[in-house]
């Protein structure tokens, strides 16, 4: 889908006023954070695992070319094929070609963020295929014609009533659907038919294992496995940063993934796929294709943003971000929301498109504190702000004010004089009331807050006077 990141402020405005969304967010609020906390408290080895995970990722990224080549060699040895895509367009071309080769009509899809990133559904539809999302949350947003709002819970913004309406409109069954159970049962029913009739299944990958040429995929629903097993061709879409050296390394990351995402120790289905079906297998795809997608990742690798490539897409940062918690994912305008999206979207789409994202943060640091691979998100956000400043992209008014502040701060005597006048004025304006309801030029503050009055004399002026009195 096209990015609306450039409309971030409008998106935020709309999201804060969207009563349905706010009710849904209120219902969810704190839930993921509480579950994660419980899971972490139950695992004394958690911090040691975090350190190990970070080390595995850093090591792998430092040797990414070798591990990708090793992965490719093992996939090919096992009867699969590896394709390389430098760009989103290249990845789309490869997937379309593979679907054509399979004479496909219907294509089932497990959840894949890279799939959203390259907008594969639209490309498939335009090429005459019928893409069907199988993850229930993704299926719901597909019916609604929307982007997922959360990377783990794509339809978190939808109420049961919303979903029931969508199902009634699209399934043509006149069922009541007055409970979550009824909705899930209907989805299971409708989806089963689609699973069985798919010609090609596209999934993402949580990890690519170089040692064995395997793809690790986790789901709670089991849709990933049905997508990968029923059709005659299984296509795996994966960013190049998904590779890890061994199954042992995948296991370390798996120990952190579900706990960080949903608070579970392990997801219901963790599958290691290795190649196409064997001669005596009774099911499985005849063709196994892995599409390795660059799309800006190699550029990140060579930059001061390399640490972002550690990301295992758990969603913990989103779940702990107060900004995300207030507006949910669509406000961020593209595939990746929250703190990780505020780094990735500008890096992938450019700061001109996504300039608000790195700035719409107090740098509170909660994201970094919960990231299983310790990505220094506030540092990366500040670095993006540095780039904006260097390229003159900050809005003129704020640049001027900040430049003025800095100029004064560098001149202590002038600062003391000017600020002394300023606080005396403000204090006088506020008078006895001690606060101001309106201050010209500070509407951003006073729209929702009073401005407390300053004392009227600065600490330093009073301090020096005291010292002078003392001396006498």
């Amino acid at each position: 889908m096209r990015s609306t990141a450039h409309s971030f402020r409008n998106n935020v405005h709309a999201a804060l006023r969207d009563q349905g969304l706010q009710r849904a967010l209120h219902r969810v609020s704190g839930g993921f954070a509480d579950k994660r906390r419980a899971a972490v408290e139950a695992l004394p080895e958690f911090e040691a695992l975090r350190a190990a995970a970070r080390a595995i990722k850093d090591h792998t990224l430092a040797h990414l070319d070798e591990y990708l080549e090793r992965f490719e060699a093992r996939v090919v040895a096992g009867g699969g094929t590896v394709h390389w895509a430098a760009s989103a367009a290249a990845a789309r071309r490869i997937v379309i070609d593979l679907c054509r080769q399979s004479g496909a009509r219907r294509v089932t899809k497990g959840k894949t963020m890279v799939g959203e990133e390259i907008a594969i559904n639209r490309a498939l539809a335009e090429a005459g295929f019928e893409p069907v999302e199988t993850d229930l949350g993704e299926y719901i947003v597909q019916l609604a014609g929307e982007l997922p709002s959360h990377i783990i819970a794509p339809a978190i913004h939808k109420t049961r009533a919303d979903i029931a309406d969508l199902f009634r409109a699209h399934h043509g069954r006149q069922r009541e659907l007055d409970s979550a159970r009824a909705i899930v049962d209907e989805a299971r029913d409708v989806m089963r038919e689609r699973f069985l009739s798919a010609d090609v299944g596209i999934t993402g990958a949580n990890f690519l294992v170089a040692d064995s040429g395997s793809v690790v995929l986790v789901t709670n629903e089991g849709n990933g496995d049905l997508t990968a097993t029923l059709p005659q061709r299984h296509i795996v879409l994966a960013g190049i940063e998904k590779v890890v050296p061994t199954l042992e390394d995948a296991g370390i990351l798996l120990r952190l993934l579900a706990r960080s995402a949903t608070g579970q120790a392990f997801t219901a289905y963790t599958t290691v796929f290795t190649g196409p079906r064997r001669a005596d297998d009774r099911d499985g795809p005849a063709a196994f294709d892995v599409v390795l997608v660059d799309n800006g990742r190699s550029a990140m690798l060579g930059s001061e943003y390399r640490e972002m490539l550690r990301c295992i897409r758990c969603g913990a940062c989103l779940n702990h971000c107060p900004v995300y918690g207030a507006v949910c994912g669509h406000a961020y305008g593209w595939v990746y929301p929250g703190p990780m999206g505020s780094v990735l979207t500008p890096l992938m789409l450019g700061l001109r498109e996504a300039g608000d994202l790195p700035n719409a943060s107090t740098l509170c640091g909660r994201c970094e504190a919960v990231c299983p691979v310790s990505i220094p998100l506030p540092t990366l956000l500040r670095r993006l702000r540095g780039r904006q400043h260097a390229e003159g992209q900050a809005p003129a008014a704020s640049r001027r004010v900040l430049a003025l502040w800095a100029a004064l701060a560098r001149r202590p005597r002038l600062y003391g004089f000017v600020m002394g006048l300023g606080v005396r004025l403000l204090a006088a304006l506020a008078g006895r009331r001690g606060r101001l309801r309106r201050v010209p030029g500070a509407a951003g503050w006073t729209a929702s807050r009073d401005l407390p009055a300053p004392a009227g004399q600065t600490f330093q002026a009073a301090w020096r006077r005291q010292r002078a009195d003392h001396a006498r």
């Binding site: 219902r27 695992l49 040797h63 709670n220 079906r277 064997r278 297998d281 099911d283 930059s303």
Partner: protein
């Protein structure tokens, strides 16, 4: 077909030469060394009783389970669970270890290469992993992957002495006994589930609603099917 292999690998190599990251450089281990050594990282501590840990994790994952001392107890457990979930006919994977079990003549059981099409099916797992309460099921002619996903009710037998401690034990076992790896190795932890509707947990999203594990203390050898003449 247009392929960017040289392009992508070239870009990755150029990026690595450039340096990037301001973080401290990682330990100077080479890929060859890591792939040879397959180092193990931190593992969650298990209690002194591995089986108890396993069954605690089964409980936490919403799987149900029975412990059977003998194969007679095991088949009785299977019959009971199938019956109480409304299935009088049992369909089992066409696996020699399942055929060998002492199914009472009163029990209607069919061994079917297409057991995955049944609504209630019986299979067996090669390993259990205590750390997570997972069953390890490998794709094989007798145990196709779909058997783990299509039925509503899945009954899974597991030799008690096939419960290993950690994920690493499972990986080691696979490399020793299932090399090259099967097309699919499923680590199944409880029934299928979703919380996508208002964050309320529902079981049986696309896979089984009910997963029942029967731990069999003696008489069950899950690996028989792999021993081909």
């Amino acid at each position: 077909m247009h392929d960017d292999r040289a392009n992508v690998l070239g870009a990755v190599r150029a990026a690595l030469r450039q340096g990037g990251a301001q973080a401290a450089p990682p330990a100077p281990e080479t890929p060859d060394e890591r792939l040879r050594g397959r180092p193990t990282g931190p593992q969650p501590a298990l209690g002194p009783d591995r089986i108890a840990h396993f069954t605690d994790q089964l409980d936490a994952s919403a799987a149900t389970w029975t412990r059977a001392r003998t194969t007679t107890e095991a088949v009785e457990a299977v019959r009971q669970v199938a019956q109480s979930s409304g299935h009088s006919e049992l369909v089992a994977a066409d696996h020699p270890s399942l055929r060998m079990l002492p199914w009472p003549s009163a029990v209607s059981i069919r061994f079917d290469a297409r057991a995955q099409e049944a609504r209630c099916a019986v299979t067996l797992a090669e390993l259990g992993i205590a750390e997570t309460g997972s069953l390890l099921l490998c794709a094989s002619p007798a145990t196709p992957t779909l058997l783990n996903f299509l039925p509503d009710v899945l009954l899974c037998l597991l030799p008690t002495d096939a419960v290993v401690g950690h994920l690493e034990d499972a990986w080691r076992w696979l490399r020793a006994h299932r090399s090259p790896l099967p097309r699919a190795v499923n680590l199944v932890t409880g029934p299928s589930r979703t919380a996508d509707v208002e964050q309320r947990l529902q079981l049986g999203a696309h896979g089984p609603r009910l997963l029942h594990v029967v731990l069999v203390d003696s008489g069950l050898d899950a690996s028989i099917a792999w021993r081909r003449p």
